[in-house]
Symmetry: C2
Subunit: 137 residues, 2 copies
């Protein structure tokens, strides 16, 4: 009856001025979901404020300094031994040019009507389907 522990990840949906969202492709060295596309961000450790941790994580992964605007929603990954709650925040670029870390091997700014054509995990695809319906109005 004991439940699996939850972890918490926070991801940034970084919008540019043309209404596109930044996605990164997981490099082949990725332990999970190699080759799929994802927004920047990652798992939070207890002890970090999630907003400053997310800004730092995005800077490490993309070279961009972002500003967080608002909560976009949340979803969940069921993993062996734990569940991962994923909180998404809308953000925009304050400064910087994209430069990737070893975690990703490609990036793209994606128009809204192209997002669901990316190779995405089923969980992310389901979340973005609902999110894009909401922001397309």
């Amino acid at each position: 009856m004991q439940a699996k522990p939850f972890g918490l990840a926070v991801k940034a949906l970084v919008w540019d001025d043309s209404g596109r969202i930044l996605f990164l492709r997981r490099a082949s060295i990725s332990k999970r979901f190699a080759g799929t596309w994802e927004p920047p961000g990652g798992k939070m450790d207890a002890g970090e404020a999630f907003d400053t941790a997310l800004v730092r994580e995005v800077a490490e992964e993309t070279g961009l300094t972002i500003v967080l605007d608002r909560v976009a929603g949340a979803t969940q990954y069921d993993m062996p031994g734990m569940k991962l709650a994923v909180l998404f925040l809308e953000a925009r670029v304050l400064s910087g040019e994209v430069g990737l870390s070893d975690e990703h091997d490609e990036y793209r700014w994606i128009q809204l009507n192209e997002v669901l054509r990316l190779e995405l995990t089923p969980t992310l695809h389901a979340f973005l389907t609902v999110y894009l319906q909401k922001v397309s109005h």
Copy 2:
């Protein structure tokens, strides 16, 4: 241009076996939103794992020991000086009987079709409208 800092709150949508959800009414001593109904839970401090913190918070507010099942969604409160991201998790009761703390003066197990008749903050009303559509299918 500097953004407001974000805080993080986590709330439990506690379901019973009859498909009802537990709501608590904020006591008149509440600094904000006195008299409105809310699910149990509260603000997380950096340094706590959010799942154990939520289980503890719900125990303090309701006397119930809960098990967290899954992420229900997220929303945001805009407050003076900060934004509050609120993550909702579905949960069920493992043991205990409801006994309230000073923060709340009444509780009710609410059928889904009655939830939106409660006095709710506009932010919570909007979130629950979407959530109830999702779980009613």
